[in-house]
C-alpha cells in the first residue's frame, strides 16, 4: 500500500499527461500480481471504495489526539483526510546513528505515544485492504481502519483515507490508466478498452497477456465497445482539391459522441450499453436511452437532449451532464436522445468492412424498424457542389436543420466508399466546424503555468468593458491558457513581466487601462449563463486566437456584445425574439 500511495501522491502533483502515463506504467511494471491489478481497479474506478464517512474518521482521530491540537492542525491543513493522515500518532521508527533519538539518550516512549502491542505493524498491502473490506462487518470497520493506519506512513495513511472516503481526485481518468496498462505490452489502448467490460479485477490474465506470458483474454462480451473512427479538420480552401461527388455531408451535432451497443448473452438476454467516445461505460447515467435500444446492434451517434420536438443546445445538455443523481425529474426535464449516423453491427454482423453508403442504408432501415422516438436518423445534407455546401453550413436552419439549427456546430464530410476504420485515418472523413465566436478582450491577470510552462505566465484572465456607476470598467469574463504559439507565449510573458502592477502569489495583475494594455482576440465555441462568474457568463472552450498589439484597450469589446451573443445562443435565430416581443406589445399594436 505504501508503494501505491507513493504513486497516487506523485500523480496528484504531476501535471503532464505523458508523465502520468510513465509513472503509472512504471508502477504496474514493477509491482506483482494481484497488487497491481487492484491498483489498476482503483485508478479506473472499478473498485467502489466508499466505506468511511468523515464522521467516522473524525471519531478515530478524536480518540487519539488532543482536541485543541487537532483544531489548530485542521485549520492549518484545511483537509480532513490529510490532517488525520499527518497527525495520526503512529509509532516512530527508531533512528540509527549519531544524532538520532537514541544517541541523545531517549526514545519514542518519552513522547507519550501509544505504541501498539507487539511493536511496529507491517504495512497492509492494497490486496489485504480490498480482501478484508469485502468480508468485514460495519461494526468492525473503525477498528480495522485504525490498525491499518497504525501500519502506514503519512503518504500511505493519506492514500488509504482518500480511497476509503471515495475522494481520490488525482487527475487520472480511467482511460489514462488503461492506456498506461496497454503500454506494458506496447498495445493500442483501444485494444484494452474493447476487452475491458469482460475483465474483472485484479486483471491477472490481462497483465499476463500484456507481458507476453499468456493468451489474450477471450472476450465473450455480448455488447462490446468498438473503437471509433474520427475525422480530421478541414477548411474552405482545402475543399477545392476534393471532388464533391465522392462525398456525402451530415450535420455535425453539438452533443456527445456515443456508441450504443446491444447484443444477446449466452442465455439469450439482451445486454445494452452506452459508451463514451473513449469507451467508458456511461449506461447508468442514461437509463432512458438504454431502454430504447431493444434490438441487437452497434450504433455510432450523438447524444443530445430533445425537448418539445427540438434538439436543444449544448448548454441544455450540459445541465443534465452536470447532475450526478439520475432522478425521474431529471429524466423528464432533460430527455436523452440518440441521433444515429452510423451502424457498426447489425444483429451480430460486423458492418465495419462495408462502405459508408451501404452502412447508411442498413442504418436507415434499422432506425425505421426500431421505431422509437428517442432514436432518430441524422439527416444527410443535400448538396451538388461545394458552393451549395458552403451555403448550407452558413445557414443550417434554411438547409434542412430547421429548429435544430442551434445544436449544429458544422458539417461532416464522409466519403461514400469509406470503410469504418478505428482511429483518425486521413482522407475518408472530414469535419468542418462552424466559425468560432470571437471577442476582443483585455488581459487583466496572468498566472504561471505548470510543468513545462512553470516559468511562463501562460494562464490569462481577460475582461471586457462594462459601465459601472456611469464609468467604464473592465470586468473579467473568462480565462484562456492555450491557442497561442510558443513565440506568442514568450511575447505575452515578456509583456506580463514588464507591466506587472501587483502580485498575488503566483498571479500577477497587469496594466489594463484605456490606453495601455494587451488586447487578446479570444475565440470560443459557445456561451452560457453562470452564477460562478462575476460577469454572469461563461465561455465554452475559450482560447487566444490572435494578439492585437495594434489595438488600444479602449477599443476592446463591451459586455453588451457578449449579452447579445448569449441571447442568440439561447433563442436560436436572434432577431426573432425582440420582433415577436414588440408585436405583442399592445402599445405598439
Amino acid at each position: 500500500m505504501n508503494r501505491f500511495a507513493e504513486l497516487l501522491d506523485r500523480l496528484a502533483y504531476e501535471p503532464g499527461r505523458n508523465n502520468k502515463l510513465r509513472l503509472i506504467a512504471d508502477y504496474l511494471r514493477t509491482t506483482p500480481d494481484p497488487e497491481r491489478g487492484w491498483a489498476l481497479a482503483a485508478l479506473t474506478g472499478a473498485l467502489s471504495f466508499k466505506y468511511a464517512k468523515g464522521g467516522m474518521i473524525r471519531a478515530l482521530i478524536a480518540e487519539r489526539t488532543d482536541e485543541v491540537l487537532f483544531a489548530l492542525s485542521y485549520d492549518y491543513v484545511g483537509d480532513l483526510s490529510e490532517t488525520v493522515a499527518l497527525m495520526w500518532p503512529a509509532p516512530i521508527p527508531p533512528l540509527q546513528g549519531e544524532g538520532g533519538r537514541e544517541a541523545a539518550g531517549w526514545g519514542p516512549e518519552v513522547s507519550g505515544k501509544q505504541t501498539p502491542p507487539g511493536g511496529l505493524r507491517p504495512p497492509p498491502s492494497l490486496t489485504d485492504i480490498v480482501e478484508t473490506l469485502s468480508t468485514l462487518g460495519k461494526a468492525q470497520l473503525p477498528g480495522q481502519i485504525a490498525r491499518w493506519l497504525d501500519g502506514l506512513d503519512e503518504t500511505g495513511r493519506w492514500a488509504l483515507l482518500k480511497l476509503l472516503t471515495g475522494a481520490l481526485r488525482i487527475g487520472v481518468s480511467a482511460r489514462l490508466a488503461k492506456t498506461a496498462a496497454a503500454s506494458l505490452g506496447g498495445k493500442p489502448p483501444d485494444e484494452v478498452e474493447v476487452m475491458w467490460p469482460g475483465l474483472t479485477p485484479p486483471y491477472v490474465q490481462l497483465f499476463a497477456w500484456l507481458e507476453g506470458k499468456g493468451d489474450k483474454p477471450a472476450s465473450n462480451d455480448p455488447a462490446p465497445f468498438h473503437p471509433p473512427m474520427l475525422a480530421h479538420a478541414i477548411g474552405e480552401p482545402e475543399l477545392a482539391v476534393l471532388d464533391a461527388a465522392d462525398f456525402v455531408a451530415e450535420w455535425k451535432w453539438d452533443g456527445i459522441r456515443v456508441q450504443a451497443v446491444a447484443g444477446e448473452d449466452d442465455h439469450g438476454h439482451l445486454v445494452t450499453r452506452l459508451y463514451s467516445r473513449t469507451g467508458e461505460d456511461i449506461s447508468r447515467s442514461f437509463p432512458d436511452l438504454i431502454e430504447a435500444l431493444r434490438r441487437s446492434a452497434a450504433i455510432d451517434g450523438e447524444l443530445l437532449i430533445r425537448r418539445d420536438s427540438r434538439i436543444q443546445s449544448f448548454n441544455v445538455l450540459q445541465q443534465r451532464l452536470n447532475r450526478k443523481a439520475v432522478t425521474p425529474k431529471l429524466l423528464a426535464e432533460f430527455p436523452a436522445h440518440l441521433r444515429a449516423y452510423d451502424l457498426l453491427a447489425d444483429g451480430g454482423h460486423d458492418l465495419r468492412g462495408h462502405p459508408f453508403i451501404e452502412r447508411r442504408k442498413r442504418l436507415e432501415h434499422f432506425v425505421a424498424r426500431l421505431n422509437d422516438p428517442r432514436v432518430d436518423l441524422s439527416p444527410l445534407v443535400p448538396f451538388a457542389s461545394w458552393p451549395e455546401l458552403i451555403a448550407a453550413r452558413a445557414d443550417p436552419g434554411a438547409a434542412g436543420a430547421g429548429d435544430d439549427a442551434p445544436a449544429v456546430e458544422g458539417v461532416m464530410l464522409k466519403r461514400r466508399d469509406s470503410l469504418y476504420v478505428p482511429g483518425r485515418p486521413t482522407g475518408p472523413w472530414w469535419k468542418w466546424k462552424r466559425d468560432p465566436m470571437t471577442i476582443d478582450a483585455v488581459l487583466m491577470y496572468a498566472q504561471r503555468g505548470h510543468g513545462k510552462r512553470s516559468s511562463f505566465y501562460s494562464d490569462y484572465t481577460f475582461g471586457v468593458w462594462k459601465s459601472v456607476d456611469g464609468e467604464d470598467r473592465l470586468v473579467p469574463v473568462g480565462k484562456a491558457y492555450f491557442g497561442f504559439t510558443d513565440d506568442e507565449l514568450k511575447e505575452i510573458d515578456r509583456f506580463v513581466r514588464r507591466h506587472t502592477v501587483e502580485r498575488f502569489g503566483p498571479v500577477r495583475e497587469v496594466t489594463h487601462d484605456a490606453d495601455t494594455g494587451l488586447v487578446l482576440e479570444v475565440a470560443f465555441e459557445g456561451l452560457q449563463r453562470s452564477t460562478r462568474h462575476r460577469s454572469g457568463v461563461a465561455m465554452r472552450f475559450p482560447r487566444v486566437s490572435r494578439l492585437r498589439w495594434d489595438k488600444p484597450p479602449r477599443e476592446a469589446d463591451r459586455i453588451e456584445t457578449l449579452e447579445k451573443m448569449l441571447a442568440q445562443a439561447e433563442h436560436g435565430r436572434a432577431p426573432a425574439a425582440p420582433l415577436l416581443a414588440r408585436a405583442s406589445n399592445p402599445a405598439l399594436a
Binding site: E14, D66, Y76, D79, L95, W106, P506
Partner: protein
C-alpha cells in the same frame, strides 16, 4: 532568582542584562551572541559578535569583512564568563556551526536553542541535549502535522524520479545555507556519484562547506551548460529560482523542493512543485516535544513559528510556557531570494 534575571525577552531578541549581551538580536547591539548563520538570526552591524568559527566565517562570506566591529570565536562546550554569568555553546544540529547557547547565573540555567533538529545530518555536528531550567525553543514546525522522519526515503524518491525520467532535468529547491549542502551530502550517502549541478547563488557557501571537510563529491556550476547536457542531471538551486526565468535553460524540468513545508500538500501546490521532498533542518513536532521533555526544563519560551500549539502542549504537561513576540525570526525561508547570477539571467 527568576528566569528574567538571566535572560529577558525583548521584541528584538533575548537580552542578558547582567552579562550585557543579546542573543540573535534583530537590531544592531554592542554585544551579540549568534546561534547560526541564517540571515534572520545573524545580522550585520553589531559591535562584538561571539559565535562558532563556522558561523563567523559564514557571516563574513555573506556580509563582507566588516560585518561586525570585533569577533570572538567560541568552541562547542567551551565556557565563557562575564561577571556572574557563564555562557557555553552546544551543537544544535541545524546547519554547519549552529549552536544552542546556554546561559547560567546563580544556578539557573536557560538554553536558547536558536534553530535545531534532532535528526542525523552529515553536514554538521549532531544535536546535543542540554539540561536546563528554562528552554527557549523555536516552533517553525510546531504543529503535530509536521513530521519529517524519513529524509533518506525522500532522497530515494528523488533518485527514483531521476531514473524514471532520464530525459528531464531535476531541479531541487533548497535554502542556500545548510539544506542545499545537506541534500548534496545525502545524495552521496545514497550512492549517487554523478556530478551535482548548482545555481551560482549556492557556490560560495557550498565551497566553504567543502573547505571545512564536508564531503560533497563533484559539484559543478550549471552556468554555461547546454540544455541537452542537463538531461538526467540534478541541479540544486535557491527555492525562488525554481519557477524563475532561470529554469528555462533546463529540459522539461521536474520541480522539486526540499523543505519541511512540503509535508502539507497545499503548500507544495501553491509553489507549483511536482516533486515535494520532506527534508527539514528544523525539529518536527515529535522532535520539539521530545526535546522539551528531555531537557528536564520546567519552563518553555516559544520564539517563532506555530507557537500556540507548542505552548498548549507544554502547559498540558504542567510546564510553564509562553510565546515570545520576537519580530523578524523565521524569515530566512521567505527571503532566500537570489541575487541575479553573474553573467546571465
Amino acid at each position: 532568582m527568576r528566569p528574567e534575571d538571566v535572560l529577558v525577552p525583548t521584541p528584538s531578541g533575548v537580552c542578558c542584562k547582567a552579562g550585557g549581551f543579546h542573543i540573535d538580536p534583530t537590531r544592531p547591539v554592542d554585544r551579540a551572541l549568534i546561534t547560526h548563520g541564517h540571515s534572520d538570526h545573524a545580522r550585520a552591524g553589531h559591535g562584538l559578535v561571539v559565535a562558532t568559527q563556522e558561523t563567523l566565517d559564514i557571516m563574513r562570506l555573506r556580509y563582507g569583512d566588516n560585518f561586525a566591529g570585533r569577533t570572538q570565536a567560541v568552541r562547542y562546550g567551551e565556557t565563557l564568563t562575564i561577571d556572574d554569568v557563564t555562557v557555553s555553546f552546544h551543537p544544535a544540529g541545524h546547519v554547519l556551526g549552529s549552536a544552542q547557547i546556554k546561559v547560567e547565573r546563580k544556578g539557573l540555567r536557560v538554553v536558547a536553542s536558536g534553530d535545531y533538529k534532532d535528526r542525523p545530518d552529515p553536514t554538521c555536528a549532531p544535536f546535543e541535549l542540554v539540561s536546563c531550567d528554562v528552554f527557549i525553543t523555536e516552533a517553525t514546525f510546531g504543529l503535530p502535522v509536521f513530521r519529517h522522519h524519513d529524509a533518506e526515503g525522500e532522497v530515494d524518491k528523488l533518485l527514483h524520479s531521476v531514473a524514471l525520467f532520464p530525459e528531464r532535468a531535476h531541479l531541487v529547491g533548497a535554502y542556500s545555507l545548510g539544506k542545499a549542502q545537506r541534500v548534496m551530502a545525502m545524495l552521496r550517502g545514497r550512492g549517487y556519484d554523478r556530478p551535482i549541478h548548482i545555481h551560482g547563488a549556492l557556490e560560495t557557501i557550498t565551497r566553504y562547506y567543502q573547505e571545512r571537510g564536508v564531503a560533497l563529491g563533484d559539484i559543478e556550476l550549471v552556468r554555461g551548460a547546454k540544455k541537452s547536457e542537463l538531461a538526467g542531471t540534478i541541479t540544486i538551486a535557491p527555492p525562488s529560482a525554481i519557477g524563475d526565468l532561470w529554469s528555462r535553460r533546463f529540459p522539461d524540468p521536474v520541480a522539486a523542493f526540499a523543505s519541511g513545508w512540503m509535508r502539507v500538500r497545499a503548500r507544495a501546490r501553491q509553489r507549483g512543485i511536482s516533486l515535494p521532498l520532506v527534508i527539514s533542518d528544523h525539529a518536527d513536532w515529535d522532535g520539539l516535544t521530545t526535546t522539551i521533555a528531555a531537557t528536564g526544563c520546567s519552563e518553555v519560551w516559544v520564539t517563532h513559528g506555530q507557537e500556540d500549539a507548542l505552548v498548549h502542549w507544554s502547559r498540558a504537561r504542567g510546564l510553564k510556557a509562553q510565546p515570545l513576540d520576537i519580530v523578524g525570526y523565521g524569515d530566512e525561508n521567505e527571503h532566500d531570494e537570489i541575487a541575479p547570477e553573474p553573467g546571465g539571467a
